[in-house]
């Protein structure tokens, strides 16, 4: 469903992605791991068409992102839900308005129908009592859960998670990881999770790719990754510095 072919991306003079190729299987949770700054989050932005890339191709639903006009990209984006690293909730909107925004702007649903859907989504993330609150009144973990509710509100085919557990305490991290598993199974969505948290890798992953030197390396499953024979992977998961 999502195929990344030999993608090269520069920021100024710096080559961030150096011919990344990977295939994301439908309805599986694919985790992308690697050190900070190795281009994991950039890849998510490229998949959504938020940034351009120098060469290679990204195929989503059989369509090349590179050749799409902005209007066509927008149509494609409605099949995606994205949970940003900083949660990216709109400060001026309440939790309910944040979660329901995409429905309000892109559907002809009534306010009542939207509210009911929003409440359902908030119930799934166990935050129904925050409907009228502003994002500034929420903790980091609660913001992440609201961002997840916002990402699933329109039943997307693909959910992208950018560092969903970074900066959270271990208990909240586990809660988010369980939520990711529960919701992606519940919706039946394909998900791509970018992370460098070992617990998230172990609890969430069904497929794992490691980014190293701007390329993606397919790794063994979560159960074997801690004892990987690959030096880069072994060093990464065990936090070893050469």
């Amino acid at each position: 469903m999502i195929e990344i072919k030999d993608v090269v991306k520069f920021y100024g003079e710096k080559r961030i992605l150096n011919g990344v190729s990977l295939f994301v299987k439908t309805k599986r949770r694919t985790t992308i791991i690697g050190q900070s700054g190795c281009g994991k989050s950039t890849l998510l932005r490229l998949i959504l068409g938020l940034e351009d890339f120098e060469s290679g191709d990204i195929i989503v639903d059989g369509k090349s992102i590179k050749t799409l006009e902005e209007d066509e990209k927008n149509k494609l984006r409605l099949n995606f839900g994205m949970v940003f690293q900083s949660s990216a909730l709109f400060d001026s909107l309440s939790v309910g308005e944040n979660v329901g925004l995409v429905l309000k702007e892109h559907t002809i649903m009534s306010d009542k129908q939207i509210k009911s859907k929003v409440m359902n989504a908030l119930e799934l993330v166990e935050l129904t009592d925050t409907y009228n609150k502003l994002p500034s009144e929420l903790s980091g973990g609660m913001k992440k859960r609201v961002a997840i509710a916002r990402a699933i509100i329109n039943d997307p085919k693909v959910i992208l998670f950018d560092e969903p557990t970074t900066g959270l305490d271990p208990i909240t991290s586990t809660r988010i990881e369980l939520l990711i598993n529960k919701l992606t199974d519940y919706i039946g969505a394909t998900s791509i999770i970018v992370t460098h948290q070992i617990s998230t890798i172990l609890n969430v992953s069904q497929e794992i790719f490691m980014f190293s030197d701007g390329k993606a390396i397919k790794t063994e499953g979560a159960d074997k990754i801690l004892k990987s024979q690959d030096k880069d992977i072994y060093n990464f998961v065990n936090g070893l510095v050469e």
């Binding site: 938020l50 409605l78 994205m82 909730l89 400060d91 892109h106």
Partner: protein, 254 residues
């Protein structure tokens, strides 16, 4: 030295090119189906409410000080009969439109650029795009429309405050005749003097402030320093453009 100058010039032309493209996209956003009346009205309310009092205070005191200085000198020269006209010229043609725009650039322009910059830094702009919402029609166009519509209204109000503050000083501090003040203004000012500031300068200055603020905000670099820089850059750039444009408009119209 030559390389540095060349690179500086290239940067300037790059920025100008980007700003032009940004402005075109924003104007396109104004005519987009995605533009919602509610968001425009919210912004109009914000612009008006944020600037109403500060504009009144600014122009009232500018009108008072200008009237005081003019009256003092003109009475000495025996030219009391034209004081109302001179104050009127200054307020309606130049001080009202320009100082109102300066106040709005400092108050509203800075707020807009800070808000957009914060949204950029916290990935809210990306979040909008990821939800297939265009920041140009969703965020920038309502702000441009609000400023284009509200600045002329603020200028009308500011002109009134400045002119009436002038007569207040003329009558109370210098025992002037209020009828003379009005008659002088009525004789010397024509409709162009009054309307050009409101209907030409107002919308143009409003568009300049809004486009500069949104552009600078959307191009900000990450971090709190970037947000602070965005506000400063937006205000300074707006003011420079306003002063230059004001000269050309005044030169051509009056």
């Amino acid at each position: 030295m030559l390389t540095a100058t060349g690179s500086y010039l290239i940067n300037i032309f790059n920025t100008l090119g980007e700003f032009t493209l940004f402005s075109v996209s924003t104007i396109r956003g104004i005519f987009s189906k995605e533009l919602k009346r509610k968001r425009v009205l919210e912004q109009m309310y914000k612009v008006g409410a944020q600037s109403f009092i500060i504009t009144a205070i600014t122009l009232t005191f500018v009108g008072m000080v200008f009237s005081s200085q003019v009256t003092k000198e003109f009475l000495r020269m025996g030219a009391a009969k034209i004081i109302g006209g001179i104050v009127g010229f200054a307020i309606w043609r130049e001080l009202g439109p320009l100082l109102t725009s300066v106040v709005v650039a400092a108050r509203v322009g800075a707020a807009i650029s800070t808000e957009i910059a914060a949204m950029k830094v916290t990935e809210q702009l990306d979040a909008l795009r990821s939800m297939a919402l265009d920041p140009f029609s969703y965020l920038y166009a309502p702000r441009v429309i609000a400023l284009v519509c509200m600045l002329p209204l603020l200028i009308v109000f500011a002109d009134f405050c400045g002119f009436m503050a002038g007569i207040f000083i003329y009558v109370l501090a210098y025992n002037g005749n209020s009828v003379n003040y009005f008659v002088s203004a009525a004789h010397m000012l024509d409709l162009t003097d009054i309307l050009a500031g409101i209907l030409i300068k107002g919308p143009i200055f409003g568009a300049v402030i809004a486009l500069t603020a949104t552009y600078v905000g959307s191009k900000t670099s990450s971090g709190s320093q970037g947000i602070g820089m965005a506000a400063t850059t937006a205000v300074v750039s707006s003011l420079i453009i306003l002063f230059i444009l004001n000269f050309f408009i005044s030169f051509l119209v009056f």
